[in-house]
Subunit: 257 residues, 2 copies
C-alpha cells in the first residue's frame, strides 16, 4: 500500500462519533506501526490536514481541510444550493432524503435530511453507495455515458441483501425504466426494509454529477407512493440542477433498451 494511501486512510478514521483519536489507538485502527502512523500524522499536520490537541495530545482533523473543501465547493457548490431543497422535500414526503455526489466511479453521500418520524430510514453521511444496488445508483446509471454504464455492469455485481439484483440484464431493465420515467426505484436492494426513489442532478454537460433519493420503510411504500415521490424527487433535482447551472439542463443521454 502506498504511503499516501496509508496517510489518507488515517484521515478517514475520524468520524462524527469519534472526532479525536490518540496515537496508539489511531495506529491500531489503521493497522500501522505507531512510528509509521506518527510520521504520517506529522506530515499531514504540517499542511494542517490534521492537528493535535495540545493538552490531550490527541489528533483531530485540521483546518486545512476546511480550506480545501471551500475551494472545491466554490467550484461546485452543491450543498448550499441543495440543502434547503432537500429539507423541503423531506418535509413534503415525511421521509428521509439524502444527496450523493458522483466521484471516481461511485456515489458518496454528502448530506442527509432525516424524517421526523420514529420509524424512519437512517442514512449516514460519508456512506458509499453501490451503483447497481441503490435507487441513487440506478438513477445515475440511467443517465451516465454509455461507457460508464457498461463498465459498471461488466464486473460481477455484489449482493447486499437477498433482494439485490445481481444479474446485469435485470439491472439494465431497471435502468431503462428509470431513464424512461426520470426516476429510479429500488426495494431493499442495499438494505433490508428500505425502499428508495431517486433522480439525477445534472452538470452543465448534461451528465449526472450526483443524485437525490427519498428513502422510506417498505411498510410505507407502494406503487402509488413511489409515483408521487418520483415526481417530487424529479422536481427537486431539476431545481437543484437549474440553480447550479443557471438554467434548466436536458440529459445528454438516456439508457435505452
Amino acid at each position: 500500500m502506498s504511503t499516501v494511501r496509508k496517510a489518507v486512510s488515517l484521515l478517514e478514521l475520524f468520524t462524527l462519533e469519534e472526532p479525536e483519536i490518540g496515537l496508539s489507538d489511531l495506529s491500531r485502527k489503521a493497522g500501522l506501526d505507531k512510528a509509521t502512523a506518527r510520521r504520517l500524522l506529522m506530515a499531514l499536520a504540517e499542511h494542517r490536514l490534521v492537528e493535535q490537541e495540545p493538552v490531550s495530545r490527541r489528533y483531530r482533523l485540521g483546518a486545512g481541510l476546511t480550506r480545501l473543501a471551500r475551494i472545491r465547493d466554490a467550484q461546485l457548490p452543491l450543498l448550499p444550493v441543495a440543502i434547503p431543497i432537500l429539507r423541503e422535500l423531506s418535509q413534503q414526503t415525511g421521509e428521509t432524503v439524502h444527496i450523493s455526489e458522483y466521484s471516481a466511479g461511485a456515489l458518496l453521500t454528502i448530506h442527509v435530511e432525516l424524517s421526523p418520524k420514529a420509524n424512519r430510514v437512517n442514512v449516514n453521511v460519508g456512506q458509499i453507495l453501490p451503483l447497481h444496488g441503490t435507487a441513487s445508483g440506478l438513477a445515475l446509471l440511467a443517465f451516465v455515458r454509455e461507457e460508464i454504464r457498461r463498465d459498471c455492469l461488466r464486473t460481477p455485481l455484489a449482493a447486499f441483501t437477498p433482494h439485490t439484483m445481481t444479474d446485469a440484464k435485470q439491472v439494465l431493465q431497471a435502468v431503462w425504466l428509470a431513464a424512461e420515467r426520470g426516476y429510479s426505484r429500488s426495494g431493499q436492494g442495499y438494505e433490508e426494509g428500505v425502499h428508495s426513489v431517486a433522480a439525477p442532478i445534472l452538470g452543465s454537460d448534461g451528465y449526472p454529477i450526483g443524485t437525490v433519493a427519498i428513502a422510506s420503510p417498505v411498510s410505507r411504500a407502494d406503487d402509488s407512493v413511489a409515483a408521487v415521490q418520483g415526481a417530487l424527487v424529479i422536481e427537486a433535482t431539476r431545481r437543484i440542477t437549474k440553480q447550479l447551472i443557471g438554467e434548466p439542463v436536458e440529459p445528454a443521454e438516456r439508457a435505452l433498451g
Copy 2:
C-alpha cells in the same frame, strides 16, 4: 521530502482562481516528475481527495474533502456561527473583515467579508498570517499560553514591510497592550497601507482558537477609529465565542508586562 508531503502539496496547488489543473501543469508547479505526480494523484483519487474531469482529464479537488471538512466542522463549527456576525461587523464598519483559525502554530484565514467600498483591503481565504506581524497574530499572542508566546518570539522575526516589528521586545509591548485592551492593532506590519484591529475567539478552555480582524486602508484609520473598531471586534468575537461554547468564556491567561 516525504511522499505524503508531496501529495498534500499537490492538493494545495488548487485555488479558487485555478480549481482545475492538468497533469503536466500540476507536476511542473509542484516540482515533481510527471510520473510521480500521477501516482500521487491516483492515490489521492482513490480516496476522493481529488477527482479527474472525465473529458478534459484535468484534475480538481474531490468530494472526499467536503466530507472530511464536514466532520471537522461538526466538531468545531466556526464558520456557520461566525459568518453572519462577520457580515454584520463588515456592514457596521464598512471595512473588510476576516476570520482566522489557529492551527499548528499559525493562523489560517478561513473566511473574508469584503468591504463594499472601492478602496478596500483585499484578503484571501487560505492565507497564512504571521503571529508577530498582524493584528490577528498579536491578538492571539496576547491570550495564548505563555509557552507558545515565548516559542514564537524566540525565533528570529521576519520583516514583511519596513514597518514590521522584528524586535521581540517591541512585539511584546504590543501584545501587552492588546492583552490589556482586549484588542490588538497593527499598522502596515504585514502589508503596506493596511491597518488592522483584531480580537481572539476563545475555546472552552479559555485559550484562543482563532481571531477576527477588521482591515482598513491606513488612510481611513486613526486612533479614534481604531478604538471604535476595537470595541466592535471584541463584541463580535465574544458573540462568536458564546455561540460556539454555549456560554461566555473568560480568557484563561493574559500576557502581562
